[in-house]
Amino acid sequence: MARMVTTRRKVISTAAAWLVGFLIFFPILWMVLASFKTELEAFAIPPSFLFFHWTTENYATVQERSDYFHHALNSIIIAGGSTLIAMLIAIPAAWSMAFSPTKRTKDVLLWMLSTKMMPPVGVLVPIYLIYRTFGLLDTRSGLIFILCLGNLPIVIWMLFTYFKEIPKDILEAARMDGATIGRELIYVLTPMAVPGLASTLLLNLILAWNEAFWTLNLSTLEAAPLTVFIASYSSPEGLFWAKLSAASTLAIAPILVLGWFSQRQLVRGLTFGAVK
């Protein structure tokens, strides 16, 4: 231990940290609790915290409305599809910039970063009109395409920073041994790149899953993912708190789990390597 930490200090910081952590987490906890209440109890004042009649009927109702699965499936296909395609385009690009950098590599990287800075609302009008013309409104492929482009700069950047850390000597050794570029890619690079690939995949899956500008504007029903489905609960006549909570819990649970795994990569991915 580097520094002497008194027990008293440890107790105080532990208590404070747990209290603050609990407060920050509370809205999510409260939502999960509400999802197990009846609609009446979810509304009740004073609210019941644990001693209510626990029920899973909201989850049953949400799933009975067959459209929940439809939207969940859309979320999986759109988030998964856009991430995979982005990875396929980004891996070669990042590989090339990390291992055969030229004088312009830095400029290319910064230019890619700057495309991410363009506010989506700045191009909402043309994208909407192009989509309308080509019948892409409310289609999964339309959303996959736009989310893929939106996240491509982040994917390339993350992969670049990971690839950059792979020691080049190893590649040269492999080349000396007569490995072709193909073999070099499969047997040398891939195993070393897997952790970076995995965390890039994870972070972008999360970003695409939660994306709520293009999904809200370009889809209504057929291709609508969970972000749009949940938004439909905002209409006054749709105010069923317990069901809203159940649908929300289902919508965020998988991503919360993935997010917890990728919290360290989050910093790296979202700051473009500016904070390590």
Binding site: R3, F25, M117, P119, V123, N210, F213, I230, Y233
Partner: protein
């Protein structure tokens, strides 16, 4: 040693990504600029005509624009202030020796992974509802009148929700930066009899200057175009009280179908974002060389 062959290969591998991003950046932007010079309303097809800078004049002198610009700035500024003023002490706290730190970290980071429509609706209904919300009940416990959040302080309510979403981000980045701070430096300061406060001011805070800048820039980029949280809670209202630039452009484009004016607004948003992006790209670029 890069041979000519590998260089050619490298260029080939890079091309698809560059081409796609180039098209993605140029085509819609060029169209936005083009539409911005037209009188073009989707409800009135066939009436398109060139009007020069008329749309910009209309958009920039529209009282709704000034109101939404003000709302955008207040929203971005407040969320930045809240997330950093709370984020610094929170990161310092999590940098202490805490029993069960990994669980606390999970709880703190969780809001960032909640999709915007969920956090907005959960806050609006379960917490901030003037009659059945938890906040109303807590106010009642203390004998205070319940606040009708979205009527009495709509913009503040939106700010509160968005701050909750972004506090974890600021905290996590600041915490990461704190953990790279040299422990020995702090120890040396302590041995020299520096108080906790002066250690913080002269050692910790300067070390946090850069990550704080990064947090400010990145949050600003995302916060300038906050949309979903407003879309599902207030719809920009009451009146224009929670309409930011992004929402104004959306309502002009997809509710009033005024393509020309919305495009002009879109370009204003692009310019605003670019001012911020300019500084962010410079910081990141400097880091790339180091």
């Amino acid at each position: 040693m890069a041979t000519q062959q590998t260089q050619l290969l490298a260029r080939t591998l890079l091309t698809p990504a560059v081409a796609l991003l180039f098209i993605w950046m140029i085509v819609p932007l060029a169209l936005t600029i083009y539409f911005a010079t037209l009188h073009y309303n989707l409800l009135d097809p066939g009436s398109e005509s060139f009007v020069g800078l008329e749309n910009f004049r209309y958009f920039l002198t529209d009282p709704a624009f000034l109101a939404s610009l003000q709302n955008t700035l207040v929203l971005v500024g407040s969320v930045l202030a809240i997330t950093i003023i709370l984020g610094v002490p929170l990161a310092l706290l999590l940098d202490q020796q805490v029993v069960g730190l990994s669980i606390v970290r999970l709880m703190v980071i969780a809001p960032f992974f909640v999709m915007p429509t969920v956090s907005a609706l959960v806050w609006k209904n379960l917490l901030m509802h003037p009659v059945s919300g938890l906040f109303a009940w807590i106010a009642h416990l203390f004998g205070l009148p319940a606040i009708d959040w979205f009527n009495d302080a709509p913009l503040f309510s939106v700010i509160l929700i968005i701050s909750w979403q972004w506090l974890p981000f600021a905290t996590l980045i600041l915490l990461t930066a704190l953990q790279s701070l040299d422990e020995e430096q702090k120890e040396a300061a302590e041995m020299d009899g520096a108080s906790a406060i002066s250690t913080f001011i002269y050692i910790t805070l300067p070390h946090l200057a850069r990550p704080i800048t990064v947090v400010i820039l990145i949050e600003t980029i995302f916060l300038l175009t906050v949309f979903a949280e407003i879309f599902v809670t207030t719809g920009g209202g009451p009146g224009l009280q929670t309409t930011n630039i992004a929402f104004l452009i959306y309502s002009q484009a997809l509710i009033q179908y005024d393509v020309g004016s919305a495009s002009a607004g879109g370009l204003v948003a692009v310019v605003l974002a670019n001012i911020v992006a300019f500084f962010l790209v410079r910081i990141v670029g400097r880091n790339l060389e180091a």
